[in-house]
């Protein structure tokens, strides 16, 4: 950074010096260069970009490099022999496939449920209710809490003997279930808790989109003879697509980060069978077993997965001119 500045200064001084008798041609190019918006804006976005770029992009590159080593245990990685061994292992590890499957189930079910519930909440709130703000605050409240905190609540909620969830299903004469213990239902239970935490978030996104739809649209469809239900179905909801897309992307990424929740609910790196996802598997391999290289390979898989979501989204945003 310093060197760049010094260079700039020198450059400027040179051009100044030349003004006395120097050619106007070079003076104006230098000047133009200095006045160039790119150069002038660089001090603003440059430092944040470098900081962020190092920690995000350099780190991902580094991570990829690590995944090619056979780095385990202590000491440093040996970068001299690189191969794709860890990726082969990745493909052969049945636990990875299971984690991948769980990750997908989590992503899809969680995202869709959140979208549906969030939409419902948003429509309810959009209907001019009194205390709408208060309701919104309450519905969004869980989102403000840490995964670690909400995990404590849900451990208690899901408690087999005293948990409220079992008491509730007990009303209908079923259960008790071992929500966090039964491999068949543990993922569902986790998703439910996550939906509890994030549906308010989805609601807020939808609400903003709903409110940006001009009143005219509602009125036009009413005058056109549509009932409230039909109005939402045919006129309003289709217009929420962009909100849905951006909410889904964020939800998917929240789901990919559900590590915190699983860690806290299961009290460690190893979630209950049926609830292991790539994120937990990755941290477990790397930090639990010191299988750094292998962990890095899983991390790359996770990164590719999220890229598959982000890239189309970014491209879409770009073509819509939202960037």
């Amino acid at each position: 950074m310093k060197r760049v500045l010094a260079f700039l200064r020198r450059r400027r001084d040179e051009s100044r010096a030349r003004t006395d008798g120097g050619s106007t041609e070079s003076r104006s190019t230098a000047r133009r260069w200095l006045d160039n918006d790119f150069v002038r804006s660089a001090p603003f976005w440059g430092p944040p970009f470098l900081l962020m770029g190092f920690f995000v992009y350099a780190a991902i590159g580094w991570n990829f490099l690590l995944s090619l080593t056979d780095y385990t245990g202590f000491g440093g990685a040996d970068y001299s022999s690189l191969d794709f061994e860890n990726y082969r292992r990745l493909f052969e590890d049945p636990a990875i496939w299971e984690a991948t499957r769980n990750t997908f189930v989590l992503l899809v079910v969680f995202t869709i449920t959140c979208l549906l519930i969030g939409l419902g909440l948003a429509i309810l709130l959009d209907r001019q209710v009194r205390f709408g703000r208060g309701f919104r605050t309450i519905y969004l409240l869980p989102f403000a809490l840490s995964f670690i905190v909400t995990a404590q609540f849900w451990r208690w909620m899901y408690n087999v003997n005293d948990g409220i969830v079992n008491q509730f299903v007990g009303i209908f004469g079923i259960g008790p279930y071992n929500w966090l213990g039964n491999p068949q239902i543990v993922l569902g239970a986790v998703i439910f808790a996550l939906v509890w935490q994030f549906s308010g978030y989805t609601m807020v996104i939808y609400l903003a989109a709903l409110r940006s739809i001009p009143t005219d649209q509602y009125e036009a469809s009413r005058v056109d003879g549509a009932s409230t239900l039909r109005m939402y179905r045919r006129v309003i909801i289709p217009q929420l697509r962009p909100a849905m897309v951006s909410a889904s992307v964020t939800l998917v990424l929240f789901a990919l980060k559900a590590f915190d929740f699983l860690y806290a609910v299961f009290g460690g790196y190893r979630p209950r069978q049926g609830a292991d996802i790539l994120a937990t598997k990755m941290v477990r391999e790397a930090f639990g077993q010191s299988q750094w290289a292998y962990g890095s390979a899983i991390a790359i898989a996770l990164f590719v997965l999220s890229l598959a979501v982000i890239a189309p989204y970014l491209y879409n945003q770009y073509t819509r001119g939202n960037l």
Partner: protein, 302 residues
């Protein structure tokens, strides 16, 4: 909220009064049911946290204990355990929040209100940064801090081990917070009048002066939003705490990290203690959230 005319939502004019009332009642009943759904886990945690072990066994999990069954002992204990973590969390959350906001605002300004080719590409890199799963960088990150930066060793004379760890956390959280802050600020700057910026240029102001005198004062409301949102995010973060701090007993351990190990003892899982701990840990974010619900929601919306 108030712009849309009343009739859009509730069909005042078109339903007969009773039908309308029934509808409204149904609507409010649904909304209240949802309130129960969203608050129950929290409420149940709250009442549990003040129960004696007697009351814990004898009362419903969501019911408050009788006066005899109330004890603040768990809160006391949780507070004692978490206290240092709360301080640590504050120590890295607040500086990181401020740094994120300032750097994010600068980046957004450089990428929005100064017009140059290719800024979309740079901005896309910022945006993508928001969505990077932390797992994808966590190994190099911990390697970087523990084997390459080694602040604790290099700055050993200036910093205690605790401060070194906190500094690592501040830098880490700042770096990963910049993208979202940039996005938030940019969304505001994009709505800022381009003509106004040009007017300032014609008025003779340089890029820096425009930032200082026009853009910065106008982004104060957005700073509030970013502070609130980012504070919550950083406070609530866990993975960095887990990997960079590593140990619950580290003098730099954050509140979330300590909470994750709270209440596990040979004698059994102490739910009231865990709940009390959860509330204490959540307290700062809860306060911020309840005081600034609107700003928070605004931060989320973008």
């Amino acid at each position: 909220m108030s712009e849309r005319s009343v009739s859009v939502g509730d069909e005042t004019s078109d339903e007969t009064t009773t039908a309308f009332d029934l509808r409204r009642i149904g609507l409010y009943a649904t909304m209240l049911g949802l309130v129960v759904f969203y608050l129950l886990p929290i409420e149940s945690g709250l009442v549990t946290s003040i129960k004696t072990s007697e009351a814990l066994i004898n009362t419903q999990p969501f019911a408050p204990p009788g006066p005899a069954g109330v004890t603040l002992e768990k809160w006391q204990f949780a507070f004692d355990t978490l206290w240092s973590g709360m301080i640590n969390s504050m120590l890295f959350t607040i500086p990181a929040t401020l740094l994120c906001a300032v750097l994010g605002s600068m980046a957004a300004y450089g990428l929005t209100l100064v017009d140059w080719r290719g800024q979309v590409a740079v901005f896309a890199l910022f945006i993508a940064g928001i969505f990077i799963p932390y797992q994808a960088v966590i190994v190099p990150l911990t390697q970087f801090w523990s084997q390459y930066a080694m602040l604790e060793m290099r700055l050993g004379l200036l910093l205690s081990a605790r401060s070194a760890t906190l500094l690592e956390l501040i830098i880490t959280h700042t770096a990963y917070g910049i993208p979202i802050c940039t996005l938030l600020f940019r969304s505001q700057y994009k709505t800022m009048s381009w003509e106004m910026i040009e007017a300032a240029r014609l008025d003779g102001a340089t890029v820096w002066r425009i930032y200082k005198r026009i853009v910065l004062p106008l982004s104060i409301p957005m700073f509030a939003v970013v502070f609130i949102f980012q504070f919550t995010q950083i406070w609530n973060e866990f993975l960095f705490s887990l990997t960079i701090i590593g140990s619950v007993s580290d003098p730099a351990a954050s509140a979330t990290l300590i909470l994750s190990g709270l209440g596990e003892a040979l004698e059994g899982v102490d739910y009231p203690l865990r709940m009390a701990g959860a509330f204490i840990t959540a307290l700062p974010t809860l306060v911020v959230y309840l005081l600034f619900a609107d700003e928070f929601a605004e931060g989320v919306e973008v």
